[in-house]
């Protein structure tokens, strides 16, 4: 085997940056990521073993949730580290090339695209905001048996009515929240609500949105989200970030309609 053995896993493309990456940083498969400069752009790359990242083993691995989770976290770890020193253009998980020259060819082919997108994202980060309806209280047992059939029907009607009211209020809150946050962001994307089973977060996910915000405006944006937390009754506002601008790395025409 030569020194070049192994495949190349590419995390992100950036403009050249001066700050050093954390010395302890490891990427997927445990190797430290390095920088590959080409035509004034930088690809952030690490070596990965063919035994895990060639087509067939990779396909098998991706079906293994533990492997997928560890790899996704390692990928995100490198992107996170980059976000502290520059504005990375994050690539999707498992973008793998045979060797450095494969990476260079790709960078040349996409150079104009990369420059355009990097300009658009420069100095900006992504904030994730999710709104959850609090899980319904354990269906309160009606105080004693209904005294009569009429009572029963009335209780039932009231319950349905209450539920409908809550749902309407929650939808209205989600809509206004998104409008308010969008006004303070440069761009926004609505993502499909997360399934509680997968996220492990209780309550129905009513809004799952991403906002592109300048670093300089981020503190203000976070304060705005914090304030809305107090206004949400029976609901929970959750903020995540700052993320690299994952949701904004493709041009705007692929934007989902709100």
């Amino acid at each position: 085997m030569t020194a070049q053995a192994g495949l190349r896993y590419v995390y992100a493309v950036c403009r050249p940056f001066e700050a050093a990456l954390q010395s302890q940083l490891t990427g997927v498969a445990g190797a430290p990521p390095g920088l590959l400069r080409h035509h004034g752009l930088v690809a952030v790359v690490s070596k990965v073993p063919e035994g895990d990242f060639a087509e067939e083993p990779l396909r098998d691995h991706l079906e293994d949730l533990d492997w997928l989770a560890a790899t996704a976290r390692a990928h995100q770890g490198v992107i996170d580290a980059l976000t502290t020193v520059t504005t990375p253009l994050p690539l999707g998980l498992a973008t793998v090339f045979r060797d450095d020259s494969g990476v260079r060819v790709m960078m040349e082919a996409r150079e104009a695209d990369f420059r355009h997108t990097l300009d658009r994202l420069e100095g900006r980060v992504e904030w994730g905001v999710k709104l959850y309806a609090d899980p319904p209280e354990q269906e309160s047992p009606p105080a004693g048996k209904p005294a009569s059939g009429r009572d029963y029907l009335r209780q039932r009607r009231n319950r349905t009515h209450e539920y409908e009211e809550k749902r309407r209020a929650a939808e209205e809150f989600a809509r206004t929240l998104h409008e308010r946050l969008s006004r303070r962001a440069e761009d926004s994307r609505l993502h499909p609500p997360q399934n509680a089973a997968l996220s492990g977060v209780p309550g129905q996910n009513l809004l799952n949105a991403a906002y592109l915000v300048a670093r300089a405006d981020s503190e203000e944006f976070v304060e705005l989200v914090d304030r809305t937390k107090d206004e949400a009754t029976g609901m929970r506002v959750e903020l995540t970030g700052p993320w690299a601008a994952y949701s904004f790395s493709e041009p705007a025409q692929s934007r989902e309609s709100p």
Binding site: L7, R15, L62, Q76, M106, A197
Partner: protein
Amino acid sequence: MTMAGRLPEPYGRDGGGANLADILERVLDKGIVIAGDIRINLLDIELLTIKLRLVVASVDRAKEMCIDWWEYDPELSARARREQLNRENRELRERLAALEALEALEALETGRGQRQEDDR
């Protein structure tokens, strides 16, 4: 290099990093898509598929992670189907009881009205 503005401390990252669903949503679905030399269609690995695979792959592991939604999904679980039937049965019985009670009440009220009229 521009690093204007101090970034607020990270949110939603405490306790062992960000929610896995948040990370997967981004690294699988978002980010720029580039066809590498190794071609894997990540669309094959959508979140739903992952969940479905979980059911088949490792029930115990999934339960550890509290991903046991299929147990409540009648499409996927015989137990859930049974429970759904039981629940429907219970609801129907309750409604029947309520209707009977209503009828009895009305009969009683009509009867009482009749008696009052008779009394006059």
